[in-house]
Subunit: 214 residues, 2 copies
DNA sequence: TAGATTGTTAATCGATTAACAATC
DNA sequence: TAGATTGTTAATCGATTAACAATC
């Protein structure tokens, strides 16, 4: 099977398709045309068809797309048909927030442990998942199949911890630190930069105000 | 002053420039060329110069860019030279995590209050900032200049709350709910979809595995 | 002045949209 | 069959990169 290169732009839209199809499925909708979906999602029908056809022909002429089927197929593309074990490094507020966010589990992301340096958190558990101390990390990684590590630790610690994780076989990092990670290219890094997001909001506020002045 | 339309792509890169320039500033670097910065940031020098020239000529031929000046100017473009009061709706884990993230304050984002429906949180405060009950919200908005509302509440409540906020003059929403908001177009919405981000990570893991099979 | 590096125009590349033949 | 709607090719649009004259 030959795969053409899928662009970043397309990939970034897949979760959104998945989300809308999930909503339609819950609402009991059986089929939908690219045109109807495009109106709901505020994109062009053309883009939807182009995006989907990167992965195969999921629709049927004259009918549209079967919601349940398309939802499942996009799920597979996104890897949601498999489970992914993950850990959280940094059991502060953000780490705990992620740990409590049970929805991830529905998509197959299973939290196996949290880690922290703070001895006050020792022995604590969240939704039944234990918080461990950082010095147990290497041992834990050797005895558990962990795929993803979420980093909710301060910028100053992140390089050291990421190196440790990579040295122990972690191949995917979900990075919340306010910093880009420079890791071997077989390690996948997905960063969530909250302050970048807030700054974009602020940019738009400023621009709006300027426009009003005129 | 005439402004050409700035593309979303450019805007989304500004916070990252700002971050790198901040780091350089802290490291005591006085000036930097687009070429040196491009190597640090893994983008082309051409792109840096193009991006910056959307907003004006901040550099000097034969010299490069003054780090402090450029940092300040990008800060202004992003609206970081002004303070922005904000509130958090939903004082659960994520809301508390944001409230505790003091770095926002350094960029001029001042948290004025949190709101929740949970009576157990009544009277609580975080970094000296009070958690209030939702029925105090409208009154609070009328008596305080609030620019931004961060929504860290469940999907099921988000439409209702967003409408209430907009009805009471909020013009900028930082949305963490797993849902797109459809609001009047004079309201700025910036969404952080954590599960979308996790799914992109998962997509890349799956693709990596497929490639290995061959 | 000579060297460096910007600002900016032109060329290229990629992504989005339009159009329509294929087909259910 | 006629109508609807996909899959896909072609056209357009926009964003990135390359090149270089301007200038510090």
């Amino acid at each position: 099977m030959e795969h053409r290169k899928i662009s970043r732009a397309v990939i970034s839209r897949l979760p959104r398709y998945h989300r809308y199809l999930g909503d339609l499925l819950e609402a009991g909708v059986e089929r939908i045309s690219s045109n109807d979906l495009s109106k709901k999602m505020n994109v062009t029908a053309s883009q939807i068809r182009q995006d989907l056809n990167n992965f195969g022909g999921f629709g049927q002429q004259g009918y549209g797309y079967n919601v349940k089927y398309l939802y499942t197929e996009i799920g597979k593309i996104l890897g949601l048909n498999k489970t992914h074990n993950f850990i959280i490094i940094g059991a502060g507020n953000l780490g705990q927030a992620l740990a409590n966010y049970a929805s991830f589990e529905k998509s197959g992301f299973i939290l196996k442990s949290l880690f922290d340096v703070n001895p006050r958190l020792e022995g604590m558990s969240i939704r039944g998942i234990q918080v461990r101390m950082m010095d147990e990390l290497v041992d834990f990684l050797q005895n558990n199949e962990i795929e993803i590590a979420a980093l909710t630790i301060p910028k100053s610690k992140v390089v050291e911890v990421a190196d440790l994780l990579v040295a122990n076989g972690i191949k995917a990092i979900w990075n919340f630190a306010h910093m880009d990670l420079d890791l071997p290219k077989d390690v996948i890094v997905e960063s969530v930069h909250l302050s970048d997001s807030l700054m974009q909001l602020s940019y738009n506020i400023s621009r709006r105000k300027e426009a009003k002045k005129k």
